[in-house]
Amino acid sequence: MKKITYTSVLSQLLLLFFVVAWIVPTFGLFISSLRDKDVLAISGWWTSFTNTEINEIYRTEGKDAQIKEGNYYFIKSNLFDGGQEKEIFRFGVTSKNIDEYKVGETALFKDQTEITVFENGDYVWKSKEEFKKKKGKRIFVSAKSPPSFTLDNYKEVLLKEGLGQAFLNTLAVALPATLIPLIICSYFAYALTWMKFYGRDILLATIIASLVVPLQMCLIPVLTIYNDFGALFGVSAKSFPGIWMAHTGFGLASTTFLLWNFLKTLPSEMIEAARVDGATHYDTFIKIVVPLSIPSFASIFILQFLWVWNDLLVGLVFLDKHPSEIILTAKLKELLGSRGENWEILTTGAFVSMTVPLFIFFSLQRYFIRGLVAGSIKG
């Protein structure tokens, strides 16, 4: 056992501070996405774990509900529509004094009828004369509402706001835009590592230079090519295959570089032995190299998939904003503009867009980190 020292306590506290500071923003978003939208708009998410005090207005029932007992007419009912777990602690009968009475006390209306309201919303309204009005009277209540969470926002966002479709679109962009570069770059990296041909070193240097070329340098010419191509063949310039290839192009250098970094660590004797035995490069690649590379494929798959899933710029430039093509990040940005004050939509939408990355993060963190570290040590 280590001794508890002053330094170790201090470092624990400091680390705890960092952890809390880092998790709180995301946690707040998650909690907010589960809150009722009316409550969300008027109170901070950190208040959602305690009882919240709310002032509400209800209306009693009218003459149809009255019964006669002895000399008096009564209306006995419940203010809540039922099923609400609120706890009333004060109430009032005029808008000037909305919390005049404690629960259980009897309030007097102007027309001399009396009403008693109980904690759970039950009330007894008593009158000497028959109730004449069809509409009931307004009752003001101050109630404590226990913490309550709901999935309504998710239903709303996925079905009505079109995030469900955007989710599918993003998947349809991200899967091929990850698999295609992985396929063509693995052949490319194999050739760069194990095949001898003229210009190999220059090609490798080109890949390393391309690693840091900013995406912005490529957007205008590629968009022009797409527009010309679309006009020439009478097809839309913005399409799923188009964005797959764009992502393939922009991810090609890093995917190739990572694979090349891995492949050159494989023992060359093994590859050469296979070649001497008469195996073609294709056989060597499929039967020896691919099975050995599965872990590094996994790392690269995750890196590229997350990059594509989280991308906004390429999606904005190469896909239409039409609901059938829009991706999650672009949709979210659109909502930030049009529904900027509807935090229930925004928080939920953001969380929906984060589900897949977070799932990958928590289930495959090891591969994710391995890929990042491999890419950085030499990148």
Binding site: L29, I183, M195, I208, Q216, F250, Y282
Partner: protein, 327 residues
């Protein structure tokens, strides 16, 4: 599109490439066996099959566009008439451009420094407590989130309500609780840049953290123990042993984050779209790509400026690669 048609499209797209490699190699083998003499061209053709798809993509999407963008920067808005240095002189006079350069410089100084510093400190702290790996996971998590998602998270943190209302943004709630006036953080010029940078630092600290964690393990324990026995304080060990030992790693992380920061677009586009003097080069470039039907000349100049920013790193990477190849 329905799930079904999306799935078919995806499948066809991916299988196309699998099929290409399979059948081209199959054909090559077929002819090799048929050829009576040694098939001399076999190796060259195989190299072409392995390289061609990637090379074509590299050429169409990276190599050609880089030179085309440089060419376009000397042409007018539709890219047809040569205008010399006109676009460059426009940029120098443009107030938005000046603002962007200043902001980008701010980003370049603050974000890599803070992310690297926090990453290094947290990696050290996490190494010595039993719950360190959980802490690392949590701090690393923002790396998985999109910039736009992070934008929403932080816009919610920065949310502003009038002084009388209850604040629903955490930052303003804290400010009010401490007795300050609530602020619309994102609209205060100069300072709002820092609030945007905070988002990037929040994300990139995780990257620095995991790389430092991996590197820290390479420091020999004997060195650290020897220092402790000699009575060096933990702070002294940090600055005199750990930091010098990790110099290379610090440099690598610095360059990765620098490249990322030069291209920063999503955060600003989602949070302020360049309003209140938060414009940066990448955002301005996107703007000019589409503003008034698009101005490819001005857009290209702005993209070129970003490229110039990464050029020293590009040269350094190539230099290191050459050194590696010699070994």
């Amino acid at each position: 599109m329905s799930i079904f048609s999306l799935a078919i499209t995806v499948l066809v797209g991916v299988l196309f490439f699998v099929a290409f490699f399979h059948f081209s190699n199959f054909l090559l083998d077929y002819f090799r066996v048929r050829a009576s003499k040694k098939f001399a061209l076999e190796n060259s053709i195989r190299v072409i099959i392995f390289i061609a798809p990637a090379f074509i993509v590299l050429f169409v999407f990276i190599l050609y566009p880089v030179f085309e963008t440089i060419r376009l920067s000397f042409y007018d808005k539709i890219g047809e008439n040569f205008v010399g240095l006109y676009n460059y002189s426009w940029a120098i006079k443009d107030p938005d451009f000046k603002r962007s350069i200043i902001n980008n410089l701010g980003w370049l100084i603050v974000v890599p420094t803070m992310s690297t510093f926090f990453g290094l400190v947290i990696a050290n702290l996490a190494d010595r407590v039993w719950w360190g790996s959980i802490a690392k996971s949590i701090i690393f998590m923002p790396m998985a989130i999109s910039f736009v998602g992070a934008g929403v998270i932080w816009k919610f943190m920065y949310d502003y309500r009038g002084p009388g209302d209850q604040q629903i943004g955490l930052l303003n709630a804290i400010a009010v609780a401490l007795g300050f006036e609530p602020q619309a953080w994102l609209t205060i010029p100069i300072w709002n840049n820092l609030f945007l940078m905070a988002i990037m630092i929040w994300i990139q600290t995780g990257l620095a953290l995991v790389i430092f964690s991996a590197a820290l393990r390479s420091i020999p324990n004997e060195t650290l123990d020897a220092a402790r026995i000699d009575g060096a304080s933990e702070l002294k060990i940090f600055w005199s042993i750990i930091v010098p030992y990790l110099e290379q790693t610090i440099l690598v992380i610095w360059t990765i984050i620098t490249i990322l920061v030069l291209k920063v677009f999503d955060i600003i586009y989602a949070m302020t779209n360049g309003q209140w003097q938060t414009e940066v080069l990448a955002n301005l470039m996107y703007d000019w790509m589409f503003r008034g039907g698009g101005d490819s000349g001005r857009g290209s100049v702005l993209a070129f400026c970003i490229l110039i920013g990464v050029t020293p790193i590009l040269a350094w990477n190539l230099y290191r690669h050459k050194q590696d190849q010699k070994v």
